[in-house]
């Protein structure tokens, strides 16, 4: 089976990889680019652990083929911090202990950043609906929501 050559931009860096037509973007990120932040939970678009943005649109990378990333811009959790300085959401998640096992955390951070980029002042209901596709099996939702609401308030004050 012939491999497909893909050129794409991930977290601002131009990258290239060879993939099988059936390989997902999630597999390509993890196995070819060593970006293991996005996790495979369900593999069928239900759990959101593999959330990334593709041309600024939040998607499940398990439901995108690697080949579809050709010429696109991909952002993953690895691109959130600037060097050693964490993104305000990451900082606040630590402060609020808004994670237990941590598997869902990268997906939730990426999804939440996409929300705040679009809507800096969401209501709690809007945050909960936006994150309906990000499952946390430790059911630590409440601290996550509180961390997000507090980050959003801080970011609004800072801007």
């Amino acid at each position: 089976m012939s491999k497909i050559h893909v050129s794409t931009t991930v977290n601002g860096d131009e990258v290239e990889f060879l993939c099988d037509p059936r390989e997902t973007l999630l597999d390509c990120l993890r196995d070819k680019l060593n970006l293991t932040g996005a996790k495979e939970g369900c593999g069928t678009g239900d759990c959101g652990a593999c959330s990334v943005t593709l041309d600024d649109r939040l998607v499940c990378s398990c439901l995108v083929l690697g080949a579809e990333a050709e010429g696109k811009t991909v952002s993953t959790v690895e691109g959130m911090a600037e060097g050693e300085s964490l993104h305000p959401l990451q900082q606040k998640f630590i402060e609020y202990a808004a994670l237990q096992c941590g598997i869902c955390t990268p997906g939730i951070l990426v999804a939440t950043k996409a929300l705040l980029d679009k809507n800096p002042d969401p209501t709690e209901s809007e945050v909960r609906y936006w994150l309906a596709g990000n499952l946390c099996r430790c059911t630590g939702y409440d601290k996550i929501i509180r961390a997000i609401m507090d980050t959003a308030a801080d970011l609004r004050e800072a801007s």
Partner: protein, 287 residues
């Protein structure tokens, strides 16, 4: 599996005609890739139509009608203020499907082609009297959405045919639509019952009506008898009772863990009344 990126719909049809084995067209992939990964359907050839010029565009034509490209996502519909004001029912139906992540990819065309009787956007498209533009080996044809579903997971599309766009008619100045579905939770579930109503008013009276139901028959259904009962009324209690009764008569649901036959049939009548009230209010508030 081979993966192709089509450059035009004609090119997509050529690729499909030249292909051997199972073919799937790829737009949002929220059904096709799930089926591929679950090994339910493993295509031999996958033809990506997203790069086709216009495939991801929403266009309002000179006569006020809408052309929604086959690769337009639910999120794009939600962000389009004018389309949402014209056809709120179609947009709210599409936006009920899946999560934010799924909305970033899922399309009206894909929801229709997947052939699920429980597809949320299909009753809304039927009520809106939408059509699709199909391109195939024999050229182009325009088909009402109501003629596409033919059974669970089945459509009337012929081999090698691809849908290029969903077309919504121009909305009347006194018209509006609405869609409601019932699920046991608030988000991320498959319809137990869905119902769409589209109305056009003449003063307080209903001049035109279309009612469609989902998840209560082998295909999404247009219920003409339910629409007839609404026409000429001001959506009074008698009209609402007749609506519920006509909708229930049109139900032929399955019995499963999501709902019994009796339950689904009852809820279909309730949802039809509620959706009609919302559509009526929306249309009244325009005048």
């Amino acid at each position: 599996m081979q993966y192709h990126t089509a450059t035009s719909y004609e090119n997509a049809v050529e690729l499909a005609e030249a292909a051997q084995g199972t073919i799937r067209f790829l737009a949002g992939g929220t059904d096709v890739l799930v089926q591929l990964r679950a090994e339910i359907v493993t295509p031999d050839v996958l033809i990506d139509i997203k790069q086709i010029p216009g495939a991801a565009d929403i266009q309002c034509l000179a006569d006020g009608s809408w052309q929604i490209g086959a690769a337009v996502s639910g999120a794009q519909l939600d962000e389009h203020g004018t389309l949402k004001a014209n056809w709120p029912g179609v947009v709210e139906a599409m936006n009920l499907i899946g999560s934010t992540q799924v909305q970033g990819r899922a399309t009206l065309t894909g929801n229709l082609c997947n052939g699920s009787p429980a597809a949320d956007s299909v009753p809304a498209m039927l009520a809106a009297n939408a059509s699709v533009t199909i391109i195939g080996p024999d050229g182009q044809r325009q088909v009402p959405v109501k003629d596409i579903p033919s059974g669970p997971g089945k459509t009337t599309l012929k081999s090698g045919e691809v849908i290029a766009s969903v077309n919504l008619p121009a909305q009347s100045a006194s018209g509006a639509d609405a869609y409601l579905r019932f699920i046991p939770r608030t988000e991320m579930d498959i319809a137990v019952v869905g119902c769409a109503v589209s109305l056009e008013l003449d003063g307080p009276k209903i001049a035109k009506a279309r009612v469609a139901i989902g998840a209560v028959a082998p295909t999404v259904r247009l219920v003409e008898s339910a629409a007839e009962g609404l026409i000429g009324s001001t959506l009074d209690d008698a009209a609402l009772a007749a609506l519920a009764s006509a909708v229930r008569d049109a139900c032929d649901p399955i019995n499963d863990k999501r709902g019994t036959i009796e339950y689904r049939t009852h809820v279909a009548g309730v949802l039809a009344q509620r959706a009609a009230k919302i559509a009526y209010q929306r249309a009244r508030s325009k005048s």
